[in-house]
Amino acid sequence: MVAYLARRLAFAVFLVFAVSSAALVLAKLAPGDFAADSLGLGASPEAIAAARARYGLDRSLGAQYGAWIAGAARLDFGQSLLFDRPVADLIPERAANTAILSLTALLAATLIGLPLGVVTGSRPGGFLTGAIRTASLLLLSMPPLLTSLFLVFAAARTGWLPVGGMTTASTTSGWTGDVLRHLIVPAAALALPLAAMFERLQSQSMSEVIGQPYMLATHARGVPAARAIWRDALKGALGPIAAVYGLVVGTLLSGSFAVEAITAWPGLGELMLAALRARDVYLVAGCAVAGSVFLAIGTLLSDAALALVEPRTRET
């Protein structure tokens, strides 16, 4: 088990290194740069050259990458060109906001999708199963971008929930209550398609497990049906969900880019979008580091969970 997790940890470190390096190099290689973007079309060539020199953008790609990677090894990810602040200062506050959003969405999706999957997987026919399946397929076919647009629209029309942002400038409900109110729309936009995916996976897995001989034996022993399903069958059917959890964390992060932009949630996705637009290469790379760390942690947790549920996976 320890050797298995060590291998996965080494892969996670490589993942973070590869993703952040690729982000920096690709952002640097793309035509245009921060100096041209920030000064605009009217700037004289001298002004642009001075800005490039000031930001260090006049150095070669190799020199910039070398300096960045040397700094990154000391957890110094450079200075954001856009915000004129150390990237290492900017990332944690935004990453925390993204973590709040993603974990809430993951929790909500799990609490909604898993039980519904158990219900539909254990009752192959009937109106309820059909309704849940239809809702799941509808939600699965809607990308988080559209879901968030619809929810923001609903919030604007009904006035029940805030339209975008993470807090209100002048709130009377306290910070936690205020954030929770603002969290509902973006978290729901991320959670609903995810819950639908969990429901489908769990349903499929449940229907397979219920047909297993040991479940027939459980029934034959007189164990009540509800207990057999929610205890024995569920335990046996958790493998597929555990296997995709790591990937889901990555999906959540990439999905949150669009959701954060639409709902003005000040997270990592919104920061990376701003960095990409402004061609702030160091901030892009810093966001990529944070994103890949999230992905690596998710993958590690998923591997660990899978190793517990399915001991055979430790051998791979």
Binding site: A30, P31, G32, D33, F34, A36, D37, S38, L39, G40, L41, G42, A43, S44, P45, E46, A47, I48, A50, A51, R54, F83, D84, R85, D89, L90, R94, N97, L145, L146, L149, F150, V152, F153, A155, A156, R157, G159, V163, G164, G165, M166, T167, A169, S170, F257, A258, A261, I262, T263, A264, P266, G267, E270, L271, L273, A274, R277, A278, R279
Partner: protein
């Protein structure tokens, strides 16, 4: 020297988003019935007498890049500067007149090169430090230390000089005769010497007042002070208690107690916040694709819609005219010819362009100066008619004909008449624009390959001259043509089609250089107009950049916002933030 502002709005799926919201809002508005709309009048809401107090929530799509306006002229940075800082004179965005601001009077010497400006007495920065002429002289010195800011303060490429004979007097001397005179001071923000002198002396003025600066370290002469900044979320501005301006009844300005700029990256969400009352105003105009939706909301009584008239700026199409740009390219023989550009201008139906690209909210345009610029627009400048048959004949006259009967043109070497047109991606109106150009040119046998790039990549292509043709938004710095020599002069850094020429590449560019030099020097306004009419005529005869439509501009605000004076130029409703008020 001219500053062209690059509008930044490449946004994630913004067209899809706005479209989706528009459809949804359309449905619900249809159910909501239609009360009368106050759309169309700057007088709307101004009948209510403004009173002090209240808060205003403003949506911006980006954060400012810095609190130092010298280092950036991006839209949110500019708005923040106008809230916190002030200038010696102000150009009224509605009347286009120069108004006294921190300087309350001035005289001009007999030679016309020196101005003596008297500063308002008893004006203090927001931290209580008195403003003196030394601050003004310092501000000019600071601006010259930052290339971006310096560009806008050098008439004829030479620096202004400034002296402070006493604490309330500034003597400004121009290096050369400069017709716009004090209009140039619209580019000079008066900064606190006591706060920024150390940065200037240490060579770090450009990076001073970055976004990590504590609000207490910022000081200014504007109507507001920054009281809180939450990165990625908002900036909260409180009334500057030491602001120097009062209204005509003697009420201390600004009217508002507080103004908050919320960062809302997506246009569709901005719109929903506006219609739901979560925000009061956006810093930019209503995009044409959202106009119908906003109009319905205004008719339903949720918003006030302001019809600002035709905009000052039209998007431009141009072909790379740099000599040698197509040196080893067989198309060099025809791609840079006047006839080819004229044929393109004749091939595109401008009314169709306006209807398709701006969804009808635009007028056909024939040159860089639109009818919005009443003083300088020349209605007599030549206009190319929509004439596809004439365009084909013109193309045939330079050897471009359909040689293989496929409906598309070929040159003498049997090569297809084809070029690549670059524009910025993520901007619906530019993307629609290139589609119309491509379709219209196909009708006369010219094939156009469209490439969309990020704004910085487009700017890079323009500056490096490595492109075939471009369609892009360029914005003039001011309404006076002398404020934009970089566009008109062949040596200019925004002489789009061939930037920064050592000497004029063509006879007609030499003529425009000569006309503009006289125009910028002349003290006779009638002569200046005549000279600039000539410039526009020469431009229209050679069409180095082709214009198809000038958009009509609209702005929207919640109904509680009063006492605004809408202007065509950005920020349309907030250019005079000290007089904006909210209804109680």
């Amino acid at each position: 020297m001219s500053q062209f502002l690059t509008r930044r709005s490449g946004q994630l799926a913004s067209l899809l988003a706005v479209g989706a919201i528009a459809l949804a809002l359309a449905g619900s508005a249809a159910c909501g019935g239609g009360s009368s709309s106050p759309a169309g009048g700057p007088a709307g809401g101004n009948a209510v007498r403004p009173e002090r107090g209240g808060e205003l929530s403003v949506s911006a799509r980006t954060e400012p890049r810095t609190f130092n306006r010298l280092a950036s002229r991006e839209a949110t940075t500019d708005l923040v500067a106008s809230l916190m800082q002030a200038k010696l004179v102000r150009i009224n965005r509605v009347t286009d007149d120069v108004e006294p601001w921190l300087a309350d009077s001035w005289t001009r010497d007999a030679g016309g090169l020196a101005y003596t400006l008297k500063l308002r007495p008893n004006v203090a920065f927001s931290d209580g430090h008195p403003m003196t002429a030394d601050d003004v002289v310092f501000s000019l010195e600071a601006a010259y230390a930052v290339p971006l800011a310096a560009d806008a303060l050098q008439p004829g490429g030479k620096k202004l000089t400034m002296a402070a004979p006493d604490p309330l007097t500034v003597v400004l001397t121009f290096p050369v005769p400069y017709a716009p005179g004090l209009r140039i001071l619209d580019n000079l923000w008066v900064l606190p010497k006591h706060k920024l002198e150390a940065a200037l002396r240490s060579g770090s003025i450009e990076s001073a007042w970055g976004l990590s600066t504590p609000p207490a370290d910022l000081a200014g002469l504007g109507p507001f002070v920054l009281s809180a900044y939450s990165p990625g979320q908002r900036m909260v501005f409180a009334r500057n208690p030491r602001y120097w301006r009062k209204d005509e009844k003697g009420t201390q300005l600004p009217y508002l107690d507080r103004l908050t700029i919320e960062v809302v990256p997506e246009e569709s969400t901005q719109l929903l916040r506006l219609t739901s009352g979560a925000s009061d105003v956006t810093i930019s105009e209503v995009p044409s694709e959202a106009y119908a939706t906003v109009k319905r909301e205004a008719e339903a009584g949720k918003l006030r819609l302001y019809d600002l008239g035709v905009g000052y700026d039209a998007d431009a199409f141009w072909i790379n005219l740099r000599p040698g740009a197509f040196k080893s390219d067989p198309r060099a023989g025809w791609l840079q010819r006047d006839e080819f550009r004229r044929a393109i201008s004749m091939a595109v139906d401008r009314q169709l362009f306006a209807d398709t690209v701006f969804l009808g909210a635009a007028l056909p345009a024939y040159g860089p100066i639109t009818p919005a610029n009443k003083k300088w627009f020349s209605p007599d400048a030549p206009r190319t008619p929509h004439d596809p048959a004439g365009a084909r004949a013109l193309l045939a006259s330079i050897g471009l004909t359909d040689r293989n009967g496929d409906g598309m043109l070929e040159d003498a070497g049997q090569k297809p008449v084809q070029f690549t047109l670059v524009t910025q991606k993520g901007r619906p109106r530019l993307e629609r624009g290139v589609s119309v150009i491509r379709d219209e040119l196909k009708k006369v046998g010219i094939a156009v390959d469209v490439v969309t790039l990020d704004a910085s990549a487009v700017i890079d292509q323009i500056m490096s001259g490595k492109y075939e043709a471009l369609y892009y938004s360029v914005y003039f710095n001011g309404t006076d043509p002398a404020s934009n020599p970089d566009f008109w002069l062949s040596s200019g850094s925004t002489h789009l089609w061939d930037i920064g020429q050592k000497k004029p590449a063509t006879e007609w560019e030499a003529r425009i250089d000569e006309l503009m030099a006289r125009q910028m020097r002349s003290g006779d306004e009638a002569e200046r107009k005549r000279l600039f009419d000539d410039v526009q005529k020469t431009f229209a005869e050679h069409l180095p950049a082709i214009y198809f439509a000038a958009p009509r501009m609209f702005a929207a605000a919640s109904r509680r916002v009063i006492n605004v004076t809408p202007a065509v130029q950005r920020p349309q409703l907030l250019w005079s933030p000290d007089t904006v008020a909210v209804a109680k």
